[in-house]
Amino acid sequence: MLQIRKAPIAAGMLFILIFPWAADRIPGIDHYPDVMIFAGIYCLITIGLSLLMGYAGQISLGHAAFYGIGAYVSGILTTRYGFDPWLCMPIGALAAAAVAVAVGAPSLRLRGHYLAMATLAFGVIVNIFFREQRQWTGGPDGMTGIPGLSLFSFEFDSILSYYYLVWGIVAAAFFFTIALIQSPVGRALRAIHTSEPAAAAMGIPIARYKIFVFAFSAMLASLAGSLYAHYMNFINPGTFDLFFSIKLVIMMALGGMHSIWGALVGAVLVAFLSLEWLHFFEQFEILIYGAILLLVTIFLPEGLAGLPAKLLERARRPS
């Protein structure tokens, strides 16, 4: 039976709660809460991707585009039309979902990995749009002056407040997703993953489920993009390019595609790798990601989330 155990959730929540406090007291890592904000933003995207990859069995190579749609909807509507930033988030998410349905529906009705190809092309086109539509997006230079978030008179303008805001939203998305996995929807998705003919014979509309999961993952990516824009107050197309889509796939592979825990672990690790630990490799960074992807696929096909079970099995088996 698919049971999400409570202990790791409690431990994870405690870790997130006290992390800023602890980091502040350890020399050299007192800026880590800032990195964790980006990690949380990535987690929002990978939570959706874990449903898409692990349950619907589909790969997206264009989620940076949905991330960008959220960021640019927030940027454009706030700076040009004076929209409230909070209102931009659902608008961006709905726009991303609509685009996802339009892009995903034709390929998700077919069996096989057509979605990967469709999203690859889509991601590239959207990035070109961000670069070329200067009057809307500011072109390659991007846009500045995107307002921060505030609630009543409280401004989320410190790292600490934004950290808790982002991770609060990650927690909500996490709990929504695990409730979904344990519900009839999750069972239907697992059924589709194991046997499409049998799932269809039970009356499960396979294409509709896949499209819905894809749209849901696009909404989460868009929400992440909005959070990014209101945190940075500045966006440019480089953040939402093909390389970021690939980084998302690396997060999933590293953490493990079949587990929501893997999605979180992969996102946090890649956030630290790209923002902290691999900085000084500069243009060689991409080679290191390639090596990571290769090593994980060969030695840890279940990702880091599969590691505990693997170690446990090795410990049990007398050598």
């Binding site: 929504f176 239907a188 194991t194 046997s195 014979a201 039970m202």
Partner: protein, 258 residues
């Protein structure tokens, strides 16, 4: 139309490229009966099931279920109308428990709204408890209640076949299509399967049965249709079929088919 046949197939043709798997098939299944479809390997029996259940679209012909044209509908739409099935090559949800497999079978009868489920709303949680109870009832009926927590992939073949029937029953079908439910079973298991099929009929569910085990066929079917190389060569009661010269020839070429 409540008194007419449950399923009517007219002038059905199915071609795969150059191969005609079914030729001009007419078939009627009366309500509340067990109708058997038999024939040598490659006769087109599974193909017929795949067409009825919407896995394949027929090249030509019409299919009416409860008076409604269903050819061209998708598999999940046909399931929603009340046709359920098992697969010749068992297609269980192997990484789920026995209980969960049956719960998936209830999919059509429950609320599975995305947001209700994601928010774990009270009515969804109540439904989940009800669903477990219903699935347990079905496991009781098919005799697998004590295995409810096992993973489906860990069941022996005989029980996997029975579980597949249970999962199909969970959809509350009007018509249940069983593709070789006794294949690979030993004698006791085969007898148990035959008893289960009769019990299903007694619940008022119509059964369309493909099977090679002639003892099962002759004992439980009300009417038998014989296919050979995609053509219907005979139809009638078990006694009629047993003595049909063309059937005997198609099967063995000598005097016995049992």
């Amino acid at each position: 139309m409540t008194n007419g046949p449950l399923l009517v197939i007219e002038d059905l043709v199915m071609s795969f490229g150059g191969l005609t798997a079914l030729m001009n098939i007419q078939l009627r299944v009366a309500r509340g009966t067990i109708k058997a479809v038999i024939g040598p390997n490659g006769a087109g029996k599974t193909t017929l099931f795949n067409i009825i259940t919407g896995v394949l679209s027929p090249t030509e012909g019409h299919i009416h279920f409860t008076g409604r044209a269903i050819s061209g509908l998708k598999a999940h739409q046909i399931a929603a109308l009340g046709i359920s099935r098992t697969f010749q090559t068992v297609e269980l949800f192997t990484n789920m428990t026995v209980l969960e497999n049956v719960m998936v079978g209830r999919h059509l009868r429950i609320n599975s709204s995305f947001f209700g489920c994601g928010l774990a709303l009270p009515h969804i949680r109540r439904q989940e408890r009800r669903l477990r109870a219903q699935a347990m009832e079905i496991l009781d009926f098919i005799g697998l209640a004590d295995k409810s927590r096992l993973l489906a992939e860990n069941l022996p073949l005989g029980e996997r076949k029975i579980l597949e029937i249970g999962r199909a029953l969970a959809t509350d079908p009007l018509l249940l299509c069983l593709d070789e439910p006794a294949a690979g079973l030993n004698e006791t298991e085969t007898e148990a399967a035959a008893r289960l099929i009769q019990a299903i009929k007694e619940q008022g569910i119509t059964v369309l049965l493909v099977e090679h085990d002639m003892k099962v066929i002759m004992n439980i079917s009300d009417e038998i249709t014989v296919l050979n190389y995609g053509e219907k060569i005979a139809e009638g009661t078990p006694v009629h079929i047993q003595n049909h010269p063309q059937v005997i020839e198609a099967y063995l070429g000598d005097g016995t088919i049992i």
